[in-house]
């Protein structure tokens, strides 16, 4: 597993893919942070992180599209599959490498919040007796970061699963974008209208419940407000495990085909 992890990390930085991902991620997050907090005159990071998750739809596939499809195309998977490592080890090595890049970028993107803290400090200094808290709420930020990390973990696992099913990087990327987009759009559709006004787009409770179950974003809300929602975290971890398990199965299945 360690050998695969090291090789994947190296290949992210030999290819432009790693740099492109980090660059796009940082640029996007900086832009989003600017618009959702500074421009909107608010310290609340809720909409910043919500938009960050939406943008993941486009940039996570950059990270995952080549993981397995490339190996398959270059026939290098033959080397991995005949080496004394388990399939689970191989999948985990690749998954963890993608997670490292993603987590690292997310961590670096925290510099976007520095201006908020500085402004908050200045405002508090101007009005020392003020009752309202000036500046961003650190627990909210920590919760959101954790949430974004977990949502990203699910997305990466899904991306890797899709990459393992195709030989073509591009189709892996397109299908991943489609799947992730459907997950998010379902959530948006689910939340259209209100119960009281009777303007719900989807009225059937059962349908809404199922959609709620597969749409990853709905569970993000509690974390966003700094509440350590264990059930949500468990949900994300389980989703990740399911996707990784299915990836392993795809490989097992291919051996038996």
């Amino acid at each position: 597993m360690l050998a695969i992890y090291k090789k994947e990390m190296r290949s992210y930085f030999i290819n432009p893919v790693g740099y492109v991902f980090i660059g796009v991620f940082l640029a996007l997050s900086a832009g989003l942070c600017c618009y959702t907090t500074l421009q909107s005159n608010t310290y609340s990071t809720a909409s910043y992180y919500y938009w960050l998750i939406l943008s993941m739809i486009i940039i996570i596939p950059l990270l995952t599209m080549r993981t397995f499809s490339e190996e398959r195309k270059m026939r290098t998977e033959q080397m991995l599959m005949t080496a004394p490592i388990s399939i689970t080890g191989m999948v985990m090595g690749k998954y963890l490498a993608a997670m490292t890049i993603y987590g690292g970028s997310l961590l670096v993107s925290c510099i976007n919040l520095i201006p908020l803290y500085i402004i908050g400090k200045e405002e508090s200094a101007l009005d020392p007796d003020g009752l309202t808290i000036k500046g961003p709420v650190t627990p909210e930020i920590i919760g959101s970061l954790l949430g974004v990390l977990l949502v990203g973990a699910v997305f990466i696992a899904i991306g890797i699963l899709i990459s393992s099913m195709t030989e073509n990087q591009l189709s892996a990327a397109v299908v991943t974008i489609a799947v992730l987009a459907v997950m998010l759009i379902l959530n948006i559709l689910n939340n259209v209208g209100t119960e009281e006004a009777g303007t719900r787009l989807i009225n059937n409770y059962a349908v809404r419940y199922v959609i709620d179950w597969i749409s990853v974003v709905s569970r993000f809300t509690n974390l966003q407000y700094g509440i350590l929602d264990w059930s949500a975290m468990l949900y994300y971890v389980s989703m990740t495990f399911i996707a990784i398990y299915l990836t392993v199965r795809v490989y097992e299945r291919r051996r038996w085909a």
């Binding site: 050998a3 030999i14 270059m74 290098t76 033959q78 991995l80």
Partner: protein, 380 residues
């Protein structure tokens, strides 16, 4: 070292490998031959654990490939048909990755250097794989298989894309490896098998049609009764002499003419060395014997005959040959059918019995430090 019994692989309704069984002893070099689509690569992929078998078992050094894949794979070095290279890596990075992947315990620097010297890639050690020529890529692929010094090495067409000099080098390398390792080699090139392998397994349409020691085949091939003789003398008289000479059962004139000398093809009766008799008979008549060439059968002929025998539609075609070719073909078929019949018999007799593998499991596969046992290393 390798024991395959009743191995079957189905792809849907298509049977790629149909109930094959053979064994490879430790330190043996086995040539795996067969026409395209015969099931060679499928068998090799199953041996290395890349594909699973539909039924049957494969044991590497007593370890079942399906029961304990990790330990079985640890014993194998594999070069697939298309070398599995990462184009963005340098040779050094790639081999170091292979080393990590196989979780080797040898001295890394020294081990990799040693392998590079053996396959002669030291001069491209720091170059990118995508910039290497086909021959170098192939050799890096071989190097990758040797990393970790596994006791079993499996090559799927190792000399493809190499120039003649490199082919000879690789053959020598395989021969060297064969001293300490068990090697399985698949190839189309028959001389290669003859030059390198101890034993030949021919597979056609998923079935083993021949499994024979190379020397036995060569002996069968050399034991020929047919000669091309070049004799200077009047053609008609010479021919009638040849036809009337006791011991010769067939003679004809071939087209080639050199001055007043003609070339004749003769065939002797079984169990007689006709050459001395022929010489004295010609000496009596004062017709100088200019050339004498034994018409040995090449291993190709055997291969084609064996494959033809197992493919009935090809037999009809063989009947249309000229008499000369007919004689040849008859002889090839004789040898081929001997081999095929024997193999069919053997395949039937492979039993399903399970040996106790406990002792074999702990067989000593420890990896020795002096990988390629060259002479200079012994001085150290």
């Amino acid at each position: 070292m390798i024991k395959i019994s009743h191995l079957v692989k189905n792809y849907g309704n298509f049977t790629a490998v149909d109930d094959i069984s053979f064994e490879v002893a430790k330190g043996e070099v086995l040539g795996f031959l067969g026409p395209n689509g015969a099931g060679k690569s499928t068998t090799m992929n199953m041996l290395t654990g890349y594909l699973s078998s539909t039924s049957g078992s494969i044991k590497i050094g007593g370890v079942d490939v399906l029961d304990d894949p990790l330990n079985a794979k640890r014993l194998i070095g594999y070069l697939p048909e298309q070398p599995p290279l990462y184009p963005d890596m340098t040779v050094e990075e790639y081999l170091s990755f292979a080393y990590d992947l196989k979780n080797c315990k040898l001295n890394k620097e020294k081990h990799l250097r040693e392998i590079c010297e053996v396959v002669k890639i030291t001069d491209v050690y720091h170059r990118m794989l995508k910039n290497l020529s086909k021959g170098y890529k192939q050799r890096v692929g071989i190097a990758q298989a040797l990393v970790g010094n596994p006791p079993v090495i499996i090559f799927d067409e190792p000399t493809i894309g190499l120039d003649p000099k490199q082919i000879i080098e690789i053959r020598n390398l395989i021969r060297t490896l064969g001293k300490e390792h068990t090697v399985i080699l698949s190839t189309h090139i028959l001389q290669e098998v003859q030059a390198v392998c101890d034993r030949i397994v021919i597979i056609n349409k998923g079935k083993i049609v021949a499994n024979e020691l190379t020397e036995n085949i060569s002996r069968a091939v050399e034991n020929t009764r047919r000669f091309n003789v070049k004799i200077s003398g009047p053609q008609r008289d010479v021919l009638s002499l040849l036809r009337n000479l006791p011991g010769i059962c067939y003679a004809e004139v071939l087209a080639a003419r050199d001055g007043d000398a003609y070339t004749y093809m003769i065939e002797s009766e079984v169990g007689i060395d006709i050459r001395k008799k022929l010489f004295w008979a010609l000496a009596d008549k004062k017709w100088p014997l200019i050339g004498l060439e034994a018409l040995g059968m090449s291993i190709e002929d055997i291969f084609i005959a064996v494959v033809d025998k197992t493919a009935p539609e090809a037999q009809a075609k063989a009947k249309k040959k000229t008499r000369y070719e007919g004689v040849r073909a008859a002889e090839e078929k004789g040898i081929a059918s001997d081999i095929v019949d024997k193999t069919v018999e053997e395949q039937k007799n492979v039993s399903f019995e399970e040996e106790s593998t406990d002792s074999a499991y702990y067989e000593d596969h420890s990896i020795k430090e002096d990988t390629f046992a060259s002479d200079d290393k012994k001085d150290e």
